[in-house]
Symmetry: C2
Subunit: 168 residues, 2 copies
């Protein structure tokens, strides 16, 4: 397979992959393109390569920057802004985990805390099932939260090595 075809397949399937994870297709595609680009790219490069509008490109780059996956690069003597993606995949994964934890897990935990002390008779089957469900989700969520915290701080090798030990 030629590089050009491989590149297109990679970008396209990374985009499709993203949609299964609540990330929009274009954002994932821009990320994919930057991941495999040896040098930083301009908005125009990205627009041209992916065939998307300026506005779309701009908004999604900004979003990638918010996620901490892409950063602006200023090249001396150049007027345009350049963009580049973190290439270390382990760092990328950690960054995504960190953001999703903050954006999703933590608010969910807060809600569950409130829902757990619903009024009502615990002998009422409905109340009991509700509280039990909420509590068990909370318990697993707390565990996940702690685990992810440590993972975020870990080095890839340390993490993988330890997993290997357990999960043999």
């Amino acid at each position: 397979m030629k590089l050009l075809e491989a590149k297109q397949q990679f970008i396209s399937s990374w985009g499709a992959f993203g949609t299964h994870w609540g990330i929009n297709r274009t954002m994932a595609q821009i990320h994919a393109l930057l991941l495999i680009s040896p040098d930083p790219l301009t908005q125009d490069d990205i627009m041209e390569d992916l065939n998307i509008s300026r506005g779309n490109t701009n908004m999604n780059i900004r979003e990638l920057i918010n996620w901490g996956l892409v950063e602006r690069v200023i090249l001396p003597g150049e007027r345009k802004e350049y963009f580049t993606a973190e290439k270390d995949i382990w760092k990328v994964v950690k960054q995504i985990v960190k953001e999703r934890k903050k954006r999703e897990l933590e608010p969910m935990m807060q809600l569950l805390d409130k829902l757990e002390d619903v009024e009502g008779d615990k002998k009422d089957k409905k109340v009991k099932t509700f509280v039990d469900t909420v509590s068990s989700i909370k318990r697993l969520g707390l565990q996940a939260d702690k685990t992810l915290d440590v993972m975020i701080k870990a080095e890839e090798n340390w993490f993988v090595n330890n997993l290997m030990k357990i999960f043999k």
Copy 2:
């Protein structure tokens, strides 16, 4: 907070949560409703409770059954079908992990295998960056795949205990 309000908040935020994970809102809401229902429910119960149409209810229940999160229950002497969700959250998580691994991770790994042997000169910076990116994603993916396999087979306590050991 009263049970009714708590219930509504739980269902609604479970639905919103789902959309961040590529699951449609209604499917997640039906799942939430069944999770907190002590007894199995009929399609009509669900339609009425969530205020959605028969078709929508039916399609999403079927999808939940495909995911292995809900099952049909036949009550003796009853004409209608009843539905119930697995209440053990650890089992639910494992089931979701199992399905997503099959639906997303495995196809992605297959693609990466193909893309890794792209033609071209490894000294070409473009080729090198592409191959390096693909390889490192593949490496991490393989590790995740193995880890998830063991997790799927694990008991909650065993899993949690082991994590505690590492992540102290």
